[in-house]
Symmetry: C2
Subunit: 449 residues, 2 copies
Amino acid sequence: MALEITKDLIDNVRELIKNQKDTALSNFFAEVHHADIAEVLDELSFDEAVYIIRLLDSETTSEVLMDVDEDVRENVLEQLSAKEIAEEIDELDTDDAADVIAELPEERKQEVIQKIEDKEHAKEIVELLRYDEDTAGGLMAKELVKVNENWNVLTCVKEMRKQAEEVTRVHSIYVTDNDGKLKGRLSLKDLLMASTRSKIADVYIPKVDFVDVHEKAEDVANIMRKYDLEAIPVIDELGVLVGRITIDDIVDVIKEEAEKDYQLAAGITQDVEADDTIWQLTRARLPWLFLGLIGGVGAARIMGFFDDAIAENAILFMFTPLIAAMAGNVGVQSSAIIVQGLANDDVKGSITDRLLKEVSLAMINGLALAILLFIYVFATEQDMNIASAISVSLFVVIIVAGLVGTFIPLFLNKRGIDPAIATGPFITTSNDIFGILIYFWIAKVIIGF
Amino acid sequence: MALEITKDLIDNVRELIKNQKDTALSNFFAEVHHADIAEVLDELSFDEAVYIIRLLDSETTSEVLMDVDEDVRENVLEQLSAKEIAEEIDELDTDDAADVIAELPEERKQEVIQKIEDKEHAKEIVELLRYDEDTAGGLMAKELVKVNENWNVLTCVKEMRKQAEEVTRVHSIYVTDNDGKLKGRLSLKDLLMASTRSKIADVYIPKVDFVDVHEKAEDVANIMRKYDLEAIPVIDELGVLVGRITIDDIVDVIKEEAEKDYQLAAGITQDVEADDTIWQLTRARLPWLFLGLIGGVGAARIMGFFDDAIAENAILFMFTPLIAAMAGNVGVQSSAIIVQGLANDDVKGSITDRLLKEVSLAMINGLALAILLFIYVFATEQDMNIASAISVSLFVVIIVAGLVGTFIPLFLNKRGIDPAIATGPFITTSNDIFGILIYFWIAKVIIGF
């Protein structure tokens, strides 16, 4: 079913491009889904990709352009004239069209918009460009089927047919009043059962889920997932129906949000993929590593304060990596659970309750691990003070790390900052430093150096 | 639109239950979406939840049961008789019904299945129970609209009407031959345009995406996402159409896969939520922490081999947390990118190419960070040997950690093991040990102790 993208296949396509076998190429790609053509283009050079785009009809290539990697799209669009881009745009639904135009350099945007033939389409795209891409407005398309509550069934069916031509998948028929305000939805079945002279106002269902145009994309995703919706209408500040979001866009939002959180937890700052260039990957990875370096230098400085004690208490210094690692691990666990809960809108109740719960949890884990460590160190070192210092520190450090890991994401979230940045290297590094500080302080108290 | 679940609301519901105000409760919940009722139930005690389930009609409660947390469902079902559960099952689509039954204890399964009134429904559920829950078979529902290619349009329309009653959302009409083999799909438009006596064989579209019943859920999700499908038919080994998967189930798969990977990367072994009990959270978190403890003890033992050197080279010991943390950070970054790439089916080409790329990347990051560290240590310690030992170690450790982080997930994936377990604490702990071993070995060579 799906095309398998092998090295042979790519080499074949390259060869055909080199020899300008346009008919063979057209015939081959005619049978291939646009998502697969996009994968082929991702593997080709930019010049080769442009060659294919120019060869295929704009109905296909506009879909292909939506599916290729962002850097391929950027480069291909650079090679095309404003007129050629406008032709692609004409084939796209308004939401995709707005996404493509939003990626263009400022001066080209105007040029392309003016060259769009369908003026109504151009107007709708301009409207969509006003919205932030992470909001319902940025996700929605203008293509939808809507009817006026004052129409009768006959008019309604006629109008619906006209509108449905523009819309790939109908999903729902929305009902508005004379001012365009969303009133409800219409079931196709009820419409077919009603007499042709009935007014829509008498047959529509007034209950309909909707979102505000400024709702955050992540919240729209949560709503559609929770209520199993395949499409949701979008209204503006006046209650006017302005667009519609479909489930396929939401699938992408869910996927991207999850990947972003995962990458932040792994210490990767930007949206990168395994196939990106070394330069892109370096830029995404170096900043958090630099933070880790600063943290490590900080830890070394803290230990420097205790360097008088090192000769007599060498064993203490050997357990610093253990304490630091455990602080990091506990911190990452706590913060990950909170970050995920916040993303799913699952975290309710007061911050104090959360912190109390985390303390109880950390005390159980901490006690279990501290007892094990005490037994090990006492068995190998035969020194009650050393064993106590190390295991009591572990216990305290686990509790503090759990609290820090819980508190920081909750705090960031309250301040409107994405809590996901508080996972991974950020929490590990700060907990390393906390951990080592607590460790040497407790050891000093117990052993007395 | 959505019901806001406040503490007041929960208290009110509790009060109504306590005073057995059944009419008030029924009236209140009649207006509430089942997903919201489920959220209310999640906040109530099990007895209270059972009270509500018994009060509402089984059409509503069957949906509610699908939406509540797994532990609530388990407890509510324990309180219900086999007959009551069978009534709920009768209201559910086959895929949801099979999921509920799969969660029941072995001896109850039989009892409940025998009490299902609709015997056809029961048979279909039994069939679905055969499939692994992480495969297409485990995801699919038996409810779908299918027509025989040998029917004429008139028969087809009549049969479709009958079938459509069972199906919540039609999405697509599938065409099969006399043996039930999937041949293609039917467009509603083509059907309406065709004369009533035309044979379906002459009007259907032979091109249709499908998946095999044993296809992995994650791969089904990738296919549906890639091709923007809202439903996909499922065929068995003989090509017979056996079910259909809809996008709402795929949204849950994508979400769950992403959450599972995220939790593994954070060192949490089971599917837990912020609201789970302390005991559930402990069980999910303690195993990885225990691994971290073992790793820390291992690191301490390695450093023990070098304890002669500690008095003269105290500064070396102070940088062990830095080396260990950087090894962990680099390892997590590399493994996360590979794990995510594997999940998205993005990682192509040979393992050697991947490792070479990772070496180049690690060399750039390593060199930049090693130079900074060299400057810092030399400036503070004024000792060329110490500064060299620490910074050369950092450079080497970053490369090794990158290789380990890249290789292990690729290796696990080749062996058919979920590569996501190789992120987080696993990679951090193994890299801590590698890192410290390399560090002291290089330091010994350069400084000579």
